[in-house]
Structures are given as C-alpha cells and as structure tokens.
C-alpha cells in the first residue's frame, strides 16, 4: 500500500516540478537565430575567423609550389604549369588551377603547407548551384596564363621552413 501511495506522491511532485520549469521558460528570450533574413547582427560577424568555408586562392601570391595539390588527401586540386616559350627566360607559368569544391571536405590540410598563405578559407558557404560543375572553381581564367609569384630574396628566406612558420604564415593570412 505504501508503494502505491509513494508512486502517487512522487508522480505528483515530479509533474509539479516539471511543469514549473517549462512554465518558467515562457519568461525567457528565445535563442533562435532567425537566419537568413531576421538575424540581429550581419552574418559575417557571427562566423568565427577560422571558419572553413569555400576555398579561395589569391593568385598574386601563389608560388605554384604544388604543396597543396600533393597534400590534399582526396586530390581535388589540379594545377597545370608549362614552359612559356614566348617569354625570354622560359620560366614556368600556371595554365590551370582548379579546385573541385563539390568533392572537397574542407579539412584544411591544403592551407597548412602553403608558404605564402595563397590558398585559404573564406567565410562564404551559401553557394547552392543547379549544376555540380559550377562548384569546380577555376582560379586561372580560360586561355590566360599567370606567372607564379617569386618572393623577393630577403622575404623568401624567412618564408620557407617547417610546419611552425607555415602555420604562422597561414595564421596571418587567415586573421
């Protein structure tokens, strides 16, 4: 009999307690961020700096060292260079730099070895496209050719070297 009464009393008190908690929630501010149109602060402010959005390559400072292409675990970066017969010094030029952002898993292994931080993440993620081929970003415009960036000697000395400096370089490019 006492078990019977204990059940009733316990149910009553725990329901009472639970109800008071949910009722108290009526006096709290909802936490929903009403993306996309009613967000209090502009979107880019709410996204942290290290956010790994779409990849972007800053072609001015890309030295075509192919470090990112080799380090990508799923090979979604393709860089093609060729000898440039027209110019006198016959140095290499970039003819193709494609990143398949549909296959990319945004792991960030390509941004680490980049000596000059050319390849880095942006805060942009809203890019739904009808055709999946639109998600292949071509950073060398069709038909044109880009001359890779040669860091001046003084800077080059400090630019190279092990993981720590690259992370530093990458850090600065990112912040």
């Amino acid at each position: 009999m006492s078990e019977y009464l204990k059940n009733i009393v316990e149910t009553a008190t725990s329901v009472f307690e639970g109800m008071s908690i949910t009722f108290s929630h009526l006096f709290r501010k909802p936490v929903t961020i009403q993306y996309p149109d009613k967000t209090e602060r502009p979107l880019t402010e709410m996204i942290p700096d290290r956010f790994r959005g779409f990849l972007k390559v800053d072609m001015e400072i890309c030295t075509a060292c192919l470090a990112c292409m080799n380090d990508c675990p799923i090979d979604c970066i393709i860089i093609k260079t060729k000898k440039d017969e027209t110019s006198a010094t016959k140095e290499r030029v970039l003819t193709q730099f494609d990143i398949d952002e549909a296959k990319c898993m945004y792991c960030g292994l390509c941004t680490e070895p980049c000596p000059t931080g050319a390849i880095h993440f942006t805060k942009e993620f809203e890019r739904a496209t009808e055709d999946i081929n639109d998600l292949v970003f071509k950073f060398v415009p069709e038909g044109q050719v880009i001359v890779p960036y040669k860091a001046p000697k003084k800077e080059a000395a400090s630019g190279g070297g092990g993981a720590l400096d690259e992370a530093e370089a990458e850090e600065t490019a990112d912040a």
């Binding site: 019977y4 009733i8 329901v15 009472f16 307690e17 639970g18 109800m19 008071s20 908690i21 949910t22 009722f23 108290s24 929630h25 009526l26 006096f27 709290r28 501010k29 909802p30 936490v31 929903t32 009403q34």
Partner: protein
C-alpha cells in the same frame, strides 16, 4: 433555442403555415452549421498555431512567425497545403475502410459539439441526456481509429490502432465514473441543468463542493487526456516507436482530418471539464441583471456574450494546461497506461462516487466551510506554483523576457 425560433416565426409571416417543429429543426441545423463552421473549425486551426507557439516558447524557440502577423495564418497555409498535397492510397490498403476512417473520426468528434453549451440560451440541442450522449458519440472515434489502423495494411498502423483501441475503451470507465459523480450532485444528465446547479463564484462550483470532487475532476481530466491521445498518453502515434501509428499511410487532407480531430478534441475536453466542474457559463447574478437591464438588442445579447466569454476563458485555461502538459512530460508505456487506468483511476472513481453519495446523505445542502477550505487549498497550491516558477527563473540566471511576440 425555442425563444429564438418563436421570434423568427412572428417576424417572418411566410413561416406561419410551416409546422412549428420544422422551424425549430431548421433553426437548430442552421445554428449547428454556423457554430461548426464559424467557431469549432477556426478554433481547431488557431489552437494548432497557439500550441506550436507555446511549445516553441517552452523550448526557447520562436515558433511559426512568418505567415501573417506573427504567423497567425499558419494554420490556413497548412490547410491549403495539405489539400493540395497528393492523396496517396496504398494499393494493398482496403479501399472503402481506408477512405471511410477519417470521416468516422471526424463525425464522432463533431457530433459531440451538439450538446456543448455556449451560454444559458445558446446551445444547439439541450438534450435531457446531454452528457450521456456526449460519451456515447465520442467512442465512434475509436471505431474510426481502429478502421484506419487496420485498413492501411501497415504493421505500424496495426500496432498503433490496437494500442489506441485498448487505451480509449479502457479510459471510458474512469471518465464515466467521474461524470457519474457530478450527475449524483445535480440529479440530471442535461448539461444545462448541471451548470445551473452551480454558481458563479468558485466556492459554488462543483469542484469545491466536497473533498471527493477534486479527485473526480483529476481522474476525469487524466482519462480525457488519454481518450484524446494527448501526451503523456500519445502512444498510438508515438513518433519515436510507431513512426506515427494509425495515420502513417495517410497523406493530404485525410491526414489532416486526424489532427483536426485531435485539436478540436482539445476544446471538447476543456468544455466538458468547465461545464461539469468549473461552473460553465455562470456569471454573477448582479452582472447579469445589470447587463439585461440595458434593454434593446444589447440587453438581449450582452448577458449571453458575457456568459460565453467566461465559458470560453475557463476552457482556454484548461486547453493551455493540456498543451503545456504535452511539452513537459515523457510518454508512458502501454502496460503502464493500462495499470494506471485499472489500478489507480478506476479505484479513485469508485471511491469518489461512494464518498459523494455518503456526503450527500450526511450533508444534503453541502457544507460551506468545506467549500471555503477547498477553495483556499486550491489557491495555496496555485500560489506555491507561481513561487516555484519564480525560483526557476531566478535559478537559471537568464534575463527575463515577457513579450510573447518576439
């Protein structure tokens, strides 16, 4: 209803030759149509919006606020959407029963609104067996649900249908017993008489008439929750187990009929509770005399309007409590559901009816001191509850924010 019909006959001479009974019938049918179309259907829709907003605020969310001002027309949008949706009938389903089930569920629910009063005069049919008719009609819903569960030829629906049949049938007993207790006090089955037997002030309500009445009210409330398939008894369509029970195979407007029934049922549970225990549409006599003394059309309509307002307010409070329970408590298992019904609610029902019978023999006129004591008890519980809510708000150390339309 008679006064309204007689008024109509004097005003419109063309109605003179028509036999009087046909005119009464015509007025009742028209009033029923108007009441269903203008009050119950929109009420079910608005309650769906209110429930989603309350649920959202209890979960620190916002809830629908895009369609219309603060999302008020969300339910119209849902209605139109579901009408436009493709209405799939599974090939292996039993064609006739599958199509018939929602209408049975719908009819069972709407037929019950015939005896629900709105004010002293406004009632479709003041049957002298009002409350008995109401219990009988709502069990047609069980047939509809079973039919839906069986006809959709899907294992989950079958399980859902079986569970809901067992649940609704077995919870008729405690509900009936609780209503029996009220009928003891009034001596009549008609809902208008039950309400007339109570007064406007809380100590005149049946709820505080004697110490057994709160027990009867709680057991009626819990068992009508179970009959309405509301949490913590929403086992037939337990999303997490049976995907959505008997309404799994339904789509489009047929699916909405089931949910329409559930939200309309909310008002039915609240109306029965208010009419039987909380003094229905009773307003203080002074207010009534003052209102009718205003004379003319206003004098005729104002008392009824005030009566309807009190009835609707009390029902709205109960509807809020039902919604609020749904978003607080977890679901109980089927065997616990059965043991709750047979081991707890039914014994309470018998004890309450025995107690009230003895009470009425010992104190034919009832004891005012007991009524005041019960009123005071209820008041302290409510006060302690609001103290507890204040403690929760303080304990969570979150800023207080009251504006519901954020």
């Amino acid at each position: 209803m008679q006064k309204l019909a007689d008024l109509l006959i004097q005003k419109i001479p063309a109605l003179q030759p028509v036999p009087v009974d046909f005119v009464y019938l015509g007025v009742q049918v028209v009033f029923a149509l108007v009441m269903l179309m203008a009050f119950v259907a929109p009420f079910a829709g608005i309650v769906s919006w209110v429930e989603r907003r309350i649920a959202a605020r209890m979960m620190d969310r916002v809830g629908p606020n895009r369609v219309g001002p603060q999302g008020f027309f969300q339910w119209i949008a849902d209605g139109i959407k579901s009408i436009l949706k493709e209405d799939i009938i599974p090939t292996a389903a039993d064609p006739i029963l599958f199509r018939l089930a929602p209408y049975l569920v719908f009819a069972g629910m709407f037929a019950a609104f015939v005896t629900i009063p709105f004010s002293s005069g406004l009632i479709i049919a003041d049957l002298n067996v009002g409350i008995f008719y109401l219990i009988a009609v709502t069990s047609i819903v069980v047939v509809g649900i079973l039919m839906a569960g069986w006809a959709s030829n899907n294992k989950y629906s079958l399980l859902g249908g079986m569970r809901s049949a067992a649940q609704i049938v077995s919870y008729e007993i405690p509900a009936g017993l609780a209503i029996l207790v009220v009928v003891f006090l009034t001596g009549s089955l008609s809902i208008q008489d039950i309400i007339k037997g109570q007064g406007a002030y809380p100590w005149q309500w049946y709820l505080f008439d004697n110490p057994f009445m709160p027990v009867a009210f709680l057991s009626l409330f819990i068992s009508s929750l179970a009959e309405g398939n509301r949490t913590p008894f929403d086992i037939p369509e337990a999303e997490s187990e049976l995907v959505s029970g008997y309404s799994t195979e339904y789509s489009g407007m047929r699916f909405v009929f089931f949910y329409f029934e559930e939200w309309a049922n909310l008002y039915l549970i609240a109306a029965v509770g208010t009419a039987l225990f909380l003094g229905g549409w009773q307003i203080p006599p002074e207010v009534k005399t003052w209102a009718s003394a205003l004379g003319g059309v206003v004098g005729f309509t104002l008392p009824h309007a005030l009566e309807f307002a009190t009835f609707f307010l009390k029902s709205a409070v109960i509807v809020f409590i039902i919604i609020w329970i749904r978003w607080t408590l977890p679901r109980i298992r089927v065997d616990q559901l059965m043991s709750l019904c047979w081991k707890y609610l039914t014994p309470f029902g018998f004890a309450a009816s025995l107690g009230v019978a003895v009470w009425m023999v010992v104190f034919p006129q009832g004891v005012m001191s007991v009524r005041y004591a019960l009123c005071a008890g209820a008041a302290t519980i409510v006060l302690y509850f609001f103290y507890r809510v204040a403690y929760q708000v303080w304990y969570s150390r979150q800023p207080i924010h009251v504006n519901p339309f954020v």
